[in-house]
């Protein structure tokens, strides 16, 4: 049967998770930004060592720290969703199991990100 689609159109969407190259690019971008963001996050965590409750709250409600932690959380939730997706695509080939794990992975990455962000914002706005 005649196929009127162009070769590009036929190839689109054929990745192991039926997606394109966006994830590939995002993984590189979140890695490069991640180097800066993880450095900042490690400094914040070190700063909190030995601090009592009020000190930690004061540290975590500094606007620079709030912005840094929100950005780091967003960055790494995207990064780890893509990373784990690659692992699932590598090892799980049964279609139903693969789709389910991909959904669980996207769900976990989103929930972790949102719960963390709510905590950061709550601390930020309650002093």
């Amino acid at each position: 049967m005649e196929d009127f689609r162009t070769p590009t159109a036929r190839a689109r969407g054929l990745g192991a998770a039926r997606g394109g190259t966006r994830d590939f690019w995002y993984q590189r971008v979140t890695s490069a930004l991640g180097v800066l963001l993880i450095t900042g996050a490690i400094i914040v965590v070190i700063d909190s060592i030995g601090a009592d409750y009020d000190d930690v709250r004061a540290l975590l409600s500094n606007p620079v720290v709030v912005a840094l932690l929100l950005l780091a959380l967003l960055n790494f939730c995207i990064h780890m969703r893509i990373g784990m997706q690659v692992i699932i695509e590598d090892y799980v080939h049964q279609p139903m199991a693969k789709v389910l794990l991909l959904i669980v992975n996207a769900g976990f990455s989103t929930v972790i990100g949102v719960v963390g962000a709510v905590a950061i914002i709550k601390i930020a706005f309650s002093g």
């Binding site: 890695s31 991640g34 490690i42 060592i49 780890m80 692992i87 972790i112 719960v115 709510v118 601390i123």
Partner: protein, 132 residues
């Protein structure tokens, strides 16, 4: 099996991991994946910390008790090493992505720098910043 055809030569038809002698770069590749997976789980610890601070003193004390215990400290040290190892490994990936250091001897130098760097950095951070 018809018994008439010439016997098929028994050649390997696909690479079997088991027949390769492990090399440093190979082990490092596996470690990047393992540390990435550990960090994936480790986000729970980080978010637990944030939620504990948001929730109040009691929740924060509980967090400190859990991660001040010996198993807790082992987890924290493991995550320190994992994040440093994975971050340095990630920089190695980015160097490859711009087309550098794919060949001998640089790929070996980078693999060693990654391992030695992550171990010394983790040890240094803990020696310096842990309230001994």
């Amino acid at each position: 099996m018809t018994g008439t055809a010439a016997p098929t030569p028994r050649i390997p038809i696909a690479p079997h991991m088991q027949v390769y002698r492990p090399t440093l770069t190979m082990v490092m590749s596996i470690m990047h994946r393992l540390t990435g997976t550990a960090l994936y789980a480790g986000t729970v610890v980080f978010v637990w910390w944030l939620v504990a601070v948001a929730a109040g003193r009691v929740a924060y004390e509980t967090f400190l008790d859990v991660f001040g215990s010996v198993p807790g400290l082992v987890v924290l040290f493991g995550l320190t090493w994992a994040v440093l190892h994975h971050a340095l490994g990630g920089i190695r990936h980015l160097i490859w992505d711009v087309g550098r250091a794919h060949t001998y001897p640089w790929r070996e130098y980078l693999a060693r720098a990654n391992l030695i760097g992550s171990l010394t950095l983790s040890a240094t951070l803990w020696v310096v910043f842990y309230p001994w």
